[in-house]
Amino acid sequence: MFNEQLVWAIFFLPLISFALISLIIRPFFNQISVVSGPIAVLSIGASFVISIITFIETTINHNNPVGDPKNWLTIGNFELQVGILLDPLTATMLVVVTGVSLMVQIYSTFYMKNPESHHGTENQDGKRETHSAKPPDDKQEVQPAELGQPVYARYFAYMSLFTASMLGLVMASNVVQLFVFWELVGLCSYLLIGFWFHRPAAAAAAKKAFIVTRVGDFGFLLALMYLFSKTYQENINYLDIQTINDQLPGLVQAGTLGAGALTLIAIGFFVGAIGKSGQFPLHTWLPDAMEGPTPVSALIHAATMVTAGVFLVGRFFPIFQASQDAMMVVALVGGITALFAATMGLVSNDIKRVLAYSTVSQLGYMMLALGIGAYGVAIFHLFTHAFFKALLFLGSGSVNHATGTFDMRFMGGLRKKMPLTYITFLIGSLSLAGIFPLAGFWSKDEILLNSFMSGTDGGEIISLIVFVLAIMAVFMTAFYMFRALFMTFEGEFRGGSEKDPEAKPHGPVHLGESPFLMVVPMVILAVPAVIIGFIANPPGNLLGIEAHWMVHTLDHMYHLPKGEAFNIPLAAVSTLVALSGIALAIAMYKPKPIISAESIGKTLKPLHTILYKKYYFDELYEGVFVRQIYYRGIALASDWSDRNIVDRIVNIVGWLGANFGGLIRQFQNGQIQMYATVTSIGIIVIAAMFIFGD
């Protein structure tokens, strides 16, 4: 029963759902577009079941039914292949992607059903904003065809495509195949972040996400081309991922490929990962991506898109491992991002942005774990993070459903009104903060442990640096999550969208628990957020599960040595750090605070401003790169060359045509004799060519 076709079905089911919804339901049966939700949920549900089977078969039974890849393109001697690369990494990612996507889509079936109630009033508002954003002389107002019409089918079509792209990405056996899906994921994120495209902020955020990740994609593409040009041989296919991983480090040892070239390739791949995973310094798109519908944020931040970067580094881990310099870069970028994003999370007032910064920060953890060589641990953290981060985002959507705003300054007191949301959000926050025994604790602790051990025992100075960065980020993570929790759920209700001047787009206030279909996925996700950590990777043998099963399974794939065992003193330290962060949050944000947040904000005014302005990165990119270098430099130069070179050539060609045309026009005067003359001359010329031509 378990065969290659079944594994392909994981990818094709959501793709079929996309085709069905976008090509049949939306154009022909839009009045029953409500069925598109169940179609998407059923297809992804089936994918999820198959993914679970695949995971068990791959990791426990070591059963790999996948045959050779198939030829896709043949160009001369060069063959481009497509196929499945099924290993524990792929299997884990399949479960994460389909599982989170399933929960998110169940949640969406209600959340998106009446977009009017969430986003309906924005039509008015959006129009006004559009108008003011344009120059006043432009009276022509763009009216999107879909304004006010049901957007249900479009939403589920995009979601299905997004999931399918991500599944295709993790299953790809060929670098080119991987790159195609990599770009498709980028496209889908653009479509979904800009889902409310009539709202200028959303359209801008979608563009930003696409362009910023493109910068990274370019690095990836350059690395691919460099790899191909360096290694192209007719008998060995160096585009096959397995071949790359197995043989490229060997080529360096044999001396056929320079160590510098390998480092360049690895760094190029990592630049792609920086873009997709929102790592420093290409992190700016990720907080803005919050403009998309909340379930989309949950999917982007937990399972698809941002994890693609971590996956990519994991996928080519042997290459990274063969290059010390590349590993150092990965570790440092990860460590810096982990701390840097956490600091911005400290002051954000938008609940979704807090979660976005925490995502960036957690992705930084994964990267730093990869950078210090703890590959299995990084993927394990990706695995646990997916569940509690999806849970937190769905929780923020639920809060938004009740209050109509995302601004935590206008929330508060929701604990009694929304008990289930509160409990699940609390679980997610504890898990993210790394409190024993929730899922986040186990994975985060392994990262800290590995960096500490390789720093002290291994004497790696980089590992020690990133360990310090990471432990500081632990404190901040705990602080900002509980700050968010307290601002949202404790104290008195502060008015929601009725008080928030910027919240009109999000809908009215109706305090109360969210509907069943929204709560169920949160409750389901809360279960793995609690238990998946010690189930998948127990510190000791547990009910037939080997100690550190998941990390060892993943590490075994690349024949890495077994990582560090569970270390109680370090775990205690990290828990204490996290608890102190929580304590500080309680002290500052409980109803009658011991330490006033405002007074601290005033004392550390410059610091607060820098954090609140996100270190002025947006201003740097917008002001310096875009306006100065791009507009003033590149754009002006291209403008000049366009006017003076390209246009001039075109004008000369046009001038030639016009004037020679005028010359020839003289002959067409209606006089038959003139015509006959021209004809005769033509005949004479032809005859002359015959006679004298040779």
């Binding site: 067409q668 209606g670 006089q671 038959i672 004799q673 015509y675 006959a676 003359t677 005769s680």
Partner: protein, 116 residues
């Protein structure tokens, strides 16, 4: 007499006729020039028939008698052309009269309707 002389005379006749046909304003003169061109062609055709065809045929048919059927090709062409030219002049004169009736002129420069 050699073939070249006949061909030169034919070419001269044709060239004079062409010049006249392209340059004369009077329609009758144009028609007359056309006759010159026809006759240039006739001279060429008959001359070629007389000088080259027997030689070419004798090479493939051994004796002139065997090729008797092909000997007069050029002459036949000349007779045809004379006949057709006569018919054409009749037609041309009719057209000229028709033009004269509608425009009261026979200058070909006045008939510039092809441009429209």
């Amino acid at each position: 007499m050699t073939l070249e002389r006949f061909l030169i005379i034919g070419a001269i006749l044709f060239a004079i006729g062409l010049y006249g046909a392209l340059s004369k304003k009077h329609a009758i003169a144009v028609l007359m020039s056309l006759e010159l061109m026809f006759n240039g062609v006739n001279v060429t055709a008959v001359a070629l028939s007389r000088y080259t065809v027997p030689k070419a045929l004798s090479e493939s048919y051994q004796t002139v008698e065997n090729a008797a059927g092909f000997l007069l090709t050029g002459h036949v062409f000349a007779v045809f052309i004379i006949t057709v030219a006569a018919a054409e002049v009749a037609l041309g004169l009719a057209i000229i009269i028709a033009i004269y009736r509608s425009r009261s002129t026979v200058l070909v420069t006045e008939a510039a309707d092809m441009k429209k």
